[in-house]
């Protein structure tokens, strides 16, 4: 019963992960807390808003027990802003990901940034949805889920749908172009701001190109490594850890 899937999350798995993303709902009925494996659900008291994972929000929505508050970035004006950025301001790169939330004292906290990636199931004190103007990591799958199951909660759905298609097109072209940077070697493709579903769609292809380039440059790379190793001292020789310590060795690439 081994899993017959390729390496890397496939679209349905990405959608599953997305369902752990927290969304805001406005309850239409009272609902007591439910004890779940991942913690208790929030007590729902209309009209007080509550945060919960998308899968639960969709369940409540289907039963007409709650409305889902669409995230700010999904509003037509925000999407149009992002498209403008993607086509005119920076036609090469993806639009930047949401900035990590800052503390009241302005100091950057490492933790909330972490929360963008990690599911916070039924956890009440989570990050708010990213502000408008930025696409979150799960933008496409979240938008599709909301449009499919909570369309009446999303204002101007027709417009939003068409903006989303435009956004998908312009970003797909960037994805295809992203591997061009490998031409000179280096072996790193920078995809800052990419979405999880976009990654799932192109993962195998991009990794294939990276691996191909790596193999085509393998002999040159081996020569370089040999030279470094024989170079006396070299970067491997230095440092207390010596060769086994990868900490300060080899080239450094900025993302």
């Amino acid at each position: 019963m081994a899993l017959p899937l390729p390496q890397g999350l496939v679209p349905t798995e990405v959608a599953f992960l997305c369902e752990m993303e927290m969304v805001t709902v406005v309850p239409r009925q009272r609902l007591e807390s439910i004890p779940l494996l991942s913690g208790d659900t929030p007590v729902l008291r209309p009209p007080h808003r509550a945060q919960m994972p998308l899968w639960l929000a969709l369940l409540l929505k289907k039963q007409r027990r709650a409305n889902i508050v669409p995230p700010a970035w999904l509003h037509p004006a925000s999407l149009a802003d992002i498209i403008h950025h993607e086509t005119n301001v920076d036609p090469q790169a993806f639009s930047p990901p949401p900035p990590p939330p800052t503390r009241a004292d302005g100091r950057r906290r490492p933790s909330p940034a972490t929360t963008h990636a990690l599911p916070r199931p039924s956890c009440p004190r989570v990050r708010p949805m990213p502000p408008g103007g930025y696409l979150p990591y799960h933008w496409l799958e979240l938008a599709e889920a909301l449009l499919a199951h909570a369309a009446d909660d999303v204002p101007a759905t027709a417009e939003v749908r068409s903006l989303l298609r435009d956004l998908q097109e312009v970003r797909a072209a960037k994805m295809r172009g992203s591997t061009q940077s490998l031409e000179g070697g280096g072996g790193v493709v920078v995809l800052r701001g990419v979405g999880a579903m976009e990654l799932a769609e192109s993962r195998a292809f991009v990794l294939g190109v990276v691996d191909g380039v790596r193999k085509l440059g393998a002999s040159a790379e081996a020569t370089r490594r040999d030279e470094e190793a024989n170079g006396g001292g070299g970067r491997y020789g230095g440092g207390a850890g010596g060769r086994g310590d990868f900490e300060d060795s080899d080239e450094e690439m900025e993302f």
């Binding site: 349905t12 499919a148 295809r176 769609e201 294939g208």
Partner: protein, 185 residues
């Protein structure tokens, strides 16, 4: 390289041009001349695995590397000749790599192990990357019929690595499309 890798095994069997450095009795059939021995410097084609072995091993017992002479000298196969490399340099998309060999890049990586050819390496890398982007575009359009017709020439010229890339790009698009259609349920 993996022991059971079919592409690697097929690449191993690619014929490469080479010349023996010495007369070899009874090998005349390699030059379509079975009645005589093979004269030194006669151009012949041998599978890569054999040619590589004979080009890298020394025929004398001497421990002095100066007089270690190999059995034969290898040459670049036609698929990687100056002619092909120049054409790739001019326009990577215009060359049907598959007509050269099905394992173009596989063969190239093996030859680049044996020959120091930094320029060829750079040209091939650029070729691979440029053609990969083109391949992805075709994979995305594979559903629309008129585009496929237009792309047929390019697609039929894809060698093995590129075919794999096409399949990966196509499968990725397809899986994503299927998911999109399934969301509504």
């Amino acid at each position: 390289m993996s022991y059971y890798d079919l592409d690697a095994i097929l690449t191993d069997a690619e014929k490469v041009p080479c010349k023996f450095e010495l007369d070899v009795p009874d090998l005349g059939y390699l030059d379509n001349n079975p009645s005589q021995g093979l004269k030194a410097q006669t151009p012949v084609s041998l599978p890569l695995w054999l040619a590589e072995l004979l080009a890298l091993s020394s025929r004398t017992q001497s421990s002095n590397p100066e007089d270690s002479a190999p059995f034969l000298t290898l040459e670049m196969p036609k698929a990687l000749s100056n002619e092909v490399v120049s054409a790739l340099k001019a326009d990577p998309r215009a060359v049907a790599l598959r007509d050269q060999t099905h394992n173009m890049y596989g063969l190239a990586t093996r030859m680049l192990d044996l020959f120091e050819e930094p320029e060829m390496c750079a040209v091939l890398r650029r070729t691979f990357v440029t053609r990969a982007a083109e391949t992805a575009l075709h994979a995305r359009k594979a559903g629309a019929t008129d585009d496929v017709v237009r792309g047929e020439g390019f697609l039929s010229g894809l060698e093995e690595w590129e075919r794999l890339l096409f399949r990966r790009a196509h499968d990725g698009n397809k899986a994503c499309k299927e998911w999109m259609e399934g969301v509504k349920k």
